[in-house]
């Protein structure tokens, strides 16, 4: 029994890698503006993604880095996505965790990395204020856009600053 499980999980991870490689190929051959992702190393299960803040939102011209982890059950389970760049957003807490339905219960195997990233990008412009992780942000979003903008800029760090801090 143990043997067969082992074999299956091996086969499973191989398929995950294949699937991810194919997604990578798609992303690379048909890049979506403002969204990109790339694996961290050869085992393909952890990626780094980059999202540009959409224009006409408080996040315009800002770049956000995210980490994505894929379980061996991907694409039947959602990837774990975290903001690496500090972000001031109603649906993201201060450690970067995201509250987004398609990353939780609404996940489906038809989604892919590109879809997730696009959803996140649109989440930046259209936060779901009914279930905030950051209550203050949700409040400010509606009441005081200027202050919101200020908070966003204050919290944001460029990738270079992040790197410097990391070192």
């Amino acid at each position: 029994m143990a043997l067969s499980t082992g074999a299956r999980s091996n086969g499973g991870s191989a398929t995950v890698a294949q699937r991810l490689q194919k997604e990578l190929m798609d992303i690379m051959t048909k890049p979506t503006p403002g969204v990109t992702a790339f694996p961290d190393d050869e085992n393909m299960t952890s990626w780094t993604a980059t999202i540009e803040g959409p224009d006409d939102t408080p996040y315009a011209k800002l770049t956000f880095k995210l980490s994505m982890e894929f379980a061996s059950t991907y694409p039947y389970a959602a990837p774990t996505v975290l903001f690496k760049t500090p972000i001031y957003h109603p649906n993201v807490d201060f450690s970067g965790r995201i509250c987004l339905d398609i990353l939780k219960d609404k996940w489906s195997a038809i989604y892919n990395i590109n879809a997730v990233l696009l959803s996140l990008q649109s989440l930046l412009g259209e936060p779901n204020n009914s279930s905030p992780l950051n209550g203050q942000a949700a409040e400010l979003w509606d009441k005081d856009p200027a202050e919101f903008q200020r908070q966003v800029l204050a919290r944001h760090k460029t990738p270079e600053e992040l790197d410097a801090g990391g070192i």
Binding site: Q21, K22, L24, M25, I27, M28, T29, P31, T36, A37, F38, P39, D40, E42, M44, W47, T48, A49, T50, K65, P159, D163
Partner: protein, 911 residues
């Protein structure tokens, strides 16, 4: 007198040291009590009293002067054979008594201070020699003499020395020795048991021997030792050469002297030299030198010639020579020189044989490269070296020396890869003969293999040579091209070796011929089936790389192959499977199966329809579109469109074109060239028809036509001639077909049909590009081709018309010749159905760039090696390029201001 001054005096006569005065210089003053021996007192009695000392001195003086006067040597040079006795005062009783007294009587020297008569005589001899003989010899040896005169010089020296030796020895032997011997014998008879006297008995011999020794020392001293030994050495060498009939002289004069004479002359000389004391260590050393050189000369004159015809080793003969000719000669000389023992020991014989073998072997190894490239004919030499390898140190010598030869003569940019491959094969064969275990081969081949790996065309040459037919193309292809190796092809033609014992031989307990691995093998040494040349070639690369290369070349080859049975290809594949394992070669198998299946499919499709007819023309391979699993590629054959330029195109073509397709599974084939253009309408129709039938047979699988592949045959009918062309590329067919008048065009030709004046169809490049939707490059190439065949003529810039009537004008033929040349150059640049790496790089450049861009965006700044590694890992289908190509890509992206070099090989996104 100390020894040094004596030696000095023997050479440089110093007056103050002169001993020729009859009175001894040394007077026994040191003895305190001088006494005389009373008459009747026994001589030399231990009881001799010192009281008689005084008397003895006087008497000794008297006797001394008598004896020395008698014994003194003539002061002038004597005639050649003068007998010395004639010059000497006659022997008298008085003299005899005096001698007796001085030698064995009371007058015998006592202590160190008194000089003995023998010593005096030696000094006398020395002086005489220095004054009279030495100058002559010095004269003789001072001047240079040529080698031919070496014999004479030695002879002369020998003669002079013999003569003076006789002169010196005669008085000694006649007058001194007998007295000493007499004394010996008498005393020994009287008191035989007295040990002291026994010493005395030998004394006489000792004195005699010492005297001779002294004379010989004098002789030896007067000759320049080096020159003498060189001369002697030369003489021995010379006689050896003559005896063994080595003709080292370059003037063509053959020594005609009989061997027997030489031998006698040499033995005489040696014996005489030995007699005058010149046969000692020096002579032996000289002899050793001579023999050393003799061995060299003999080997180089007799054995360096390789026996190209019988292909036998000369080593047995060499050993025989050492044993049966060299050794006897040595023994002869040693006997003359009275060496002890004069026999050659068996161990020495063996040593000499090895020495000779070593020399022969080194000579051979120095030319090993030459032998290797003439392998087979040179197997005699190789066998020699094989013997040589048994000696200690031989392998190291061979490895280092041969490696040098290889790097000097083979591994440089001036040699073609084909040549290197051929030589490598020769090396494999020759070294297999040399050392079947393959350790040496592994060592010497390592640099070659490394070098071959670096050459770009190695893989292509190997594989295409493997696919070449040995029989019919012998002469032309191999000689000229330089791209095909005859040797590889001939290896391929050899029957299959048996690889069944591939299993772990170390564990085969039943193997009675098992041997341990050679001790000098390197750690990665594997017992290889050395005889299998192809195995060596196939293992040059990593398996994967090789198989990729094989796939490309095989693909190209299959598409061109004319053999409907594909026997050679099947065999090659089998061969490679045996060597590399069949799991990796799946793609190749599929390719092969594709082409074989295509034949069957063609047949069945043709059977199902009337219009697709017989002639097996060329196929255009097609990649199937996206049939997910077994994608079927098919290749349509271009049919033979007949072309009647002025006449109506479609009207009754003789047979109608036919089409054969090759159906290829694109997934397994390498990337094929896929230029898009329109094929002639007739062909298109056929393609459609074929397609529909194929879909019917194959369950709705789609075909995608690859028009750029394949070939075609056309018949062109002109006003004045009909020509047939085959092996045309599809775009050439399309282009020439485009010169058919189009239905819409008002063709003057139509009207003028049958009349004298016919206007040819004219097209320009742009028109053709549009009509055929073809790349300009292909259009131009096809135009140049047809112009070269005198089918088209360029009437204006980029405008061509059909040559309906071949005129005799030179202009046409000149233009045709020029165009043909151009066409050939273009075709060469375009050859190959499989896309090259550069093409792939160009085509996929955008993907690669976006990969790099994505990588750098998300992962931050990265160094080139890291980028390269990620590319290889991440890009689907692999990234078959190296750091160089990657750098070029990055440079290009840098110039597009996408990335920026952050120093060194670190790159980042440009902000």
């Amino acid at each position: 007198m100390d020894h040094r001054s004596r030696v000095f005096a023997s050479i440089f006569p110093v007056p103050s040291l002169s001993h020729t005065t009859p009175t001894p210089i040394a007077t026994p003053t040191a003895t305190p009590d001088l006494g005389y021996t009373a008459p009747g007192q026994s001589f030399g009695s231990p009881f001799n009293s010192n009281a008689s000392g005084q008397q003895r001195a006087v008497r000794r003086n008297l006797a001394w002067s008598t004896a020395t006067r008698f014994l003194s040597l003539p002061k002038q040079a004597t005639g050649a054979n003068a007998s010395f006795d004639t010059l000497r005062p006659p022997m008298s009783a008085e003299i005899g008594e005096a001698l007796h007294y001085l030698l064995v009587g009371e007058g015998k020297s006592e202590g160190k201070t008194e000089e003995s008569l023998v010593d005096w005589y030696i000094s006398e001899v020395r002086l005489h020699f220095a004054n009279l003989v030495q100058p002559t010899l010095k004269e003789l040896w001072k001047k240079e003499f040529e080698l031919q005169h070496a014999w004479d010089a030695l002879d002369e020296t020998k003669r002079v020395l013999q003569q003076v030796q006789m002169l010196y020895l005669q008085p000694f032997n006649d007058h001194i020795l007998p007295i000493l011997y007499q004394d010996n014998s008498s005393s020994s008879t009287i008191r035989p048991r007295r040990p002291t006297l026994m010493v005395d008995a030998h004394g006489a011999d000792d004195v005699s021997w010492g005297f001779r020794r002294d004379i010989h020392a004098i002789f030896a001293h007067c000759l320049p030792p080096q020159r003498f030994s060189k001369t002697l050495s030369y003489v021995l060498y010379d006689s050896g050469c003559k005896l063994f009939q080595i003709f080292v002289r370059h003037d063509g004069v053959q020594a005609s002297v009989e061997r027997e004479n030489i031998r006698r002359r040499m033995t005489d000389l040696l014996q005489d030299l030995e007699r005058v004391g010149l046969g000692g260590d020096n002579a032996q050393k000289a002899f050793a030198h001579a023999m050393d050189k003799l061995m060299d000369s003999y080997i180089s004159s007799q054995y360096l010639r390789v026996d190209w015809f019988t292909k036998k080793s000369v080593v047995p003969h060499l050993r025989m020579w050492i044993k049966d000719a060299f050794c006897p000669f040595v023994e002869l000389v040693m006997e003359c020189l009275r060496c002890n023992p004069s026999d050659v020991q068996p161990t020495e014989l063996q040593q000499w044989q090895e020495m000779a073998l070593g020399r022969l072997g080194r000579e051979r190894v120095d030319h090993l490269f030459f032998f290797v490239i003439h392998w087979d004919k040179s197997s005699g030499a190789i066998l020699d070296i094989r013997e040589y390898l048994k000696l200690a140190g031989a392998k190291q010598y061979l490895t280092s020396n041969f490696s040098q030869q290889i790097s000097r003569r083979l591994l440089h940019p001036g040699t073609t890869t084909t040549y290197i491959l051929n030589v490598y094969i020769f090396i494999i064969r020759a070294f297999h003969e040399l050392e079947p275990k393959g350790v040496l081969l592994e060592r010497v081949a390592r640099p070659i293999r490394r070098y071959l790996k670096d050459r770009e065309d190695t893989g292509r040459i190997i594989i295409s040579s493997l696919l070449t037919d040995l029989d019919d193309e012998n002469g032309s292809k191999f000689a000229s091209g330089g791209e095909l190796s005859y040797e590889i092809a001939s290896e391929m033609a050899k029957p299959f070796a048996n690889f069944s014992h591939d299993a772990d031989e170390e564990l085969n307990w039943g193997d009675m011929s098992w041997q341990p691995l050679p001790t000098d093998a390197s750690p990665e040494y594997k017992k290889s089936k050395v005889e299998d040349v192809i195995w060596f070639l196939l293992t040059l690369w990593e398996r994967e790389d090789f198989i990729n290369e094989l796939r490309n070349i095989l693909g190209d080859h299959l598409l061109r192959c004319q053999d409907p049975e594909y026997q050679k290809e099947i065999r090659l594949l089998e061969l490679i499977k045996v060597r590399l394992g069949d799991d990796k070669l799946q793609a190749c198998e599929v390719m092969l199966r594709d082409v074989l299946d295509s034949k069957r499919i063609n047949a069945s499709i043709r059977a199902s329809g009337a219009k697709l007819q017989t002639p097996d023309q060329t196929p255009l391979p097609q990649t199937p579109e996206r049939v997910p699993r077994t994608p079927q590629l098919r290749r349509p054959t271009t049919s033979t469109p007949s072309l009647f330029p002025p006449s109506t195109p479609t009207s009754n073509p003789p047979d109608g074109p036919t089409l054969n397709a090759q159906i290829l599974s694109s997934f397994f084939w390498p990337l094929l060239r896929d230029d898009q253009f329109l094929v002639p309408a007739q062909i298109q129709t056929l393609q459609k028809e074929y397609e529909s039938r194929f879909e019917r047979i194959k369950g709705m699988r789609k075909l995608r036509w690859m028009n750029a592949l394949g070939d075609g045959t056309v018949t062109l009918e002109f006003d004045d001639r009909t020509e047939e062309f085959d092996k045309l590329t599809p775009w050439q067919v399309s282009v020439v077909y485009a010169f058919q008048p189009q239905p819409g065009e008002e063709q003057p030709g139509l009207i003028g049909r049958g009349k004298a004046k016919v206007v040819s169809t004219t097209r320009n490049v742009a028109q053709l590009e549009e009509m055929l939707q073809m790349d300009e490059q292909l259009v131009r190439q096809a135009l140049a081709f047809w112009a070269g065949k005198s089918v088209l003529r360029e009437t204006d810039q980029d405008t061509y018309e059909v040559i309906e009537k071949v005129s005799s004008s030179n202009a046409d033929s000149d233009a045709a010749a020029a165009a043909q040349e151009l066409a050939e150059v273009q075709a060469a640049a375009q050859a190959g159905a499989v896309r090259s790496q550069t093409d792939v790089l160009q085509e996929k450049k955008d993907v690669y760039m976006s990969f790099i861009f994505g990588m750098l965006t998300n992962q931050g700044n990265l160094p080139i090696p890291r980028i390269l590694m990620m590319m290889r890992m991440m890009v689907q289908g692999g990234f078959p390029f190296g750091a160089e190509e990657l750098k070029d890509l990055l440079k290009e992206m840098e110039s597009e201001e996408k990335v920026v070099c952050l120093g060194g090989d670190l790159y980042g996104i440009r902000k």
